[in-house]
């Protein structure tokens, strides 16, 4: 198992290099000059040139790429932000916990609502409760996130004044951003839970469990849910990985100082070190989450674990034969 984890962690290196490659190429072909935002578009050419020289922007893109990699690998330095002249790593570390907290809470809330909803829908298929919850789920999936965010802000912050419209000082500030990110996930997770559960409750082992005289809801939860969990976990992992890159819209609307907003600002200012640093962080966190998802699979479904073990066994036997 440990070998597998180490292997997966090592695989992150080419992934990050690939991501950086793309970012450097994109930064090269994107119109707009970071110097314009730093010293002003009307600044005299010598000033601009000096600034460009100072930031190393006059080097060809592959030199910059190599320099960046060397700095990251040798000094763990992601460079300094063009706009604030602060180390990018430091700036990200301030913002990442905020984004992490926002994402985890919104996914947690979405799961708590959507899994029971999907379960009930599957068990009471075609009943009014199924129709209602699936209509709600469809609503949740198809509603534009930004519109929902603005509407909740309008109703609950501006009109009712229950929650602050911006900032996340105190618990109340978290409610609306969490709800905004959560709403789409509720729909998503509920629909997956339902379809996965529908498949599972037609399986023979569910009938076996009923034939034991087990209570219906225990049959559903104990024997059904765990078998239905794999597609749900896969989806939650995906959503988690993507949201961690920054819930850009929610962070912007509610002025949450997270990674998403940081990167959006950086892109607007052509602040390449910040964009690169943010993307490295995203690639790492995404890879780690995918690793966790795969480990969770094995924990949920013993068949996957033994498949992995069997593969290893075959490999080692083959090596033994060759030796």
């Amino acid at each position: 198992m440990l070998k597998y984890i180490v292997k997966r962690l090592l695989w992150m290196i080419p992934v990050i290099l690939g991501v950086l490659c793309i970012v450097f190429v994109l930064s090269e072909i994107t119109p707009g000059d970071p110097v314009d935002t730093l010293v002003g578009a009307d600044a005299p050419p010598e000033v601009k040139e000096a600034m460009r020289e100072k930031l190393g922007l006059n080097d060809p893109v592959y030199v910059r790429f190599a320099n960046y990699i060397v700095k990251v690998v040798t000094k763990a330095d992601l460079g300094n932000s063009y706009t604030t002249n602060q180390p990018v790593a430091k700036e990200l570390m301030v913002r990442f916990p905020i984004t992490l907290k926002l994402t985890l809470w919104s996914i947690f809330v979405a799961l708590v609502i959507s899994i029971p909803l999907g379960l009930i829908s599957a068990v009471k298929r075609y009943s009014w409760i199924d129709n209602l919850s699936m209509a709600l789920a469809l609503f949740g999936v198809s509603i534009p996130q930004f519109w929902f965010g603005l509407m909740t802000m309008l109703i609950f912050s501006v009109k009712l004044k229950w929650f602050p419209a911006s900032g996340i000082d105190g618990t109340a500030g978290w409610v609306l951003p969490v709800a905004m990110i959560g709403i789409g996930n509720v729909g998503n997770f509920a629909r997956i839970t339902r379809s996965s559960m529908l498949e599972v409750i037609q399986q023979d082992y569910i009938r076996t469990a009923r034939a034991k005289g087990q209570k219906e809801w225990i049959v559903i939860v104990k024997h059904g849910l765990r078998n239905a969990l794999i597609p749900i976990v896969a989806n939650v992992g995906n959503v988690l990985g993507i949201s961690l890159g920054g819930a850009v819209i929610a962070e912007t609307i509610f002025s949450v100082n997270g990674v998403g907003k940081y990167m959006l600002d950086a892109i607007n200012a052509r602040n390449w070190p910040s964009v690169q640093g943010g993307l490295v962080l995203l690639a790492i966190s995404f890879s780690i989450i995918m690793l966790l998802v795969d480990l969770l699979y094995a924990a949920i479904d013993p068949r996957l674990k033994s498949e992995f073990k069997a593969k290893n066994k075959i490999k080692s036997r083959r090596k033994a034969v060759e030796a």
Binding site: R210, K215, N227, S306
Partner: protein, 347 residues
């Protein structure tokens, strides 16, 4: 003579679907004593499994309904034909206490009958804990005992189903079904999914355990060899009706109903060299559209005009041997049936 453990009386089961009502079981009656084994034989779709699920109270919802009849377990009726929700729920609760405890079932496919994410021992212990007030440790001990009883090492308690072969899985399923020492065991084609040598092992095992626990066994199968191997009596089912019912000697040595005869004809013989296996021409009547006359008439080689008029009742042709065929009806019954038909009071 001991009392009947299980008695099914005039059972009628319908599946109500959007396309219409499928009359899956029409007036099936039989009885089982402790330690006795009955075979329920018939082709696919004859209603064998539906009879079994009715006894278990596990008819697929919401389509399956028991329309009429009684199922008596130790003389107590366990069927609720009323559609009243409260009565249904009360019956459900009662059935839950019986299932796995007094009546157990072994399902057809052992590959899919076990929960893939739960250790097999735990699955056996679950049913033990459900029906006995014992501690978890004791339940584990009992489960291990049951595993040893069916010939699987107790050390494999925490193995998962995918780590067993098909025959071993079926042993686990049998251990699970017998864990609470049920009065009635229903085996729905327990050997169909297994290969022949494993079939023999599993049948041997079941016979041994049945004797040991004095369990009544209802063996559902379409394999006449299995019936000959293990059963004391046999009912041949066709289109939701029992067409012939009798002791194993009656059915095997003296089959009378044309369908039973045709079934035996279809069994390949070791000493005859044939190019083509015998088959019964035609298809079984659609349960959505059953004829009012004899359901086997269209495929019957012995049918006459009267077969198209009369739905024959089960007639006792020798003690304990019943046949549902016009040709075996008593002359007085024939006359009465024709008169009944003519008088417009069908059935």
């Amino acid at each position: 003579m001991s009392e009947n453990v299980l008695e099914v009386k005039n059972l009628i089961v319908h599946y109500e679907t959007q396309d219409g009502v499928a009359e899956a079981v029409n007036d099936v009656s039989f009885s089982l004593k402790a330690g006795e084994t009955m075979g329920l034989v018939g082709e696919t779709g004859a209603g064998k499994t539906t009879v079994a699920l009715s006894i278990m109270g596990l008819l697929p919802k919401p389509a399956g309904h028991i329309i009429g009849g009684e199922i008596l377990l130790d003389g107590k009726n366990i069927v609720e034909t009323s559609r009243n929700k409260i009565k249904q729920r009360r019956n459900d609760r009662m059935m839950r206490k019986l299932r796995g405890n007094d009546i157990s079932m072994i399902f057809q496919d052992p590959m899919s009958a076990l929960n893939p994410v739960m250790p097999v021992g735990e699955q056996i212990a679950e049913v033990i804990r459900l029906h006995n007030k014992i501690s978890k440790a004791d339940a584990v001990k009992r489960a291990i005992e049951m595993m040893e009883l069916v010939g699987i090492s107790g050390e494999r308690y925490s193995y998962y189903p995918h780590e067993f072969s098909g025959g071993m899985k079926q042993r686990i399923v049998i251990a699970m079904a017998l864990a609470c020492n049920p009065r009635v065991l229903i085996a729905d084609e327990p050997t169909t999914a297994l290969d022949v040598t494993i079939q023999a092992q599993v049948l041997d095992l079941m016979r041994g355990l049945k004797k040991k626990f004095n369990t009544a066994l209802l063996m559902i199968t379409h394999d006449l060899g299995v019936v000959a191997e293990i059963c004391d009596k046999c009912a041949v089912v066709y289109a939701g009706q029992i067409v012939e019912y009798g002791s194993i000697e009656h059915i095997f040595n003296n089959p009378q109903h044309p369908y039973t005869k045709a079934l035996f004809n279809a069994v390949p013989s070791l000493d005859k060299d044939v190019d083509r296996l015998e088959s019964i021409s035609g298809l079984m009547s659609d349960p959505m559209d059953l004829p009012t006359h004899c359901t086997f008439k269209e495929r019957c080689t012995a049918c006459c005009d009267a077969c198209g008029e009369i739905d024959p009742p089960l007639t006792e042709i020798e003690p304990g041997h019943l046949v549902r065929c016009y040709h075996f009806m008593k002359e007085t019954d024939k006359a009465a049936a024709v008169a009944g038909k003519g008088g417009g009071v069908a059935k």
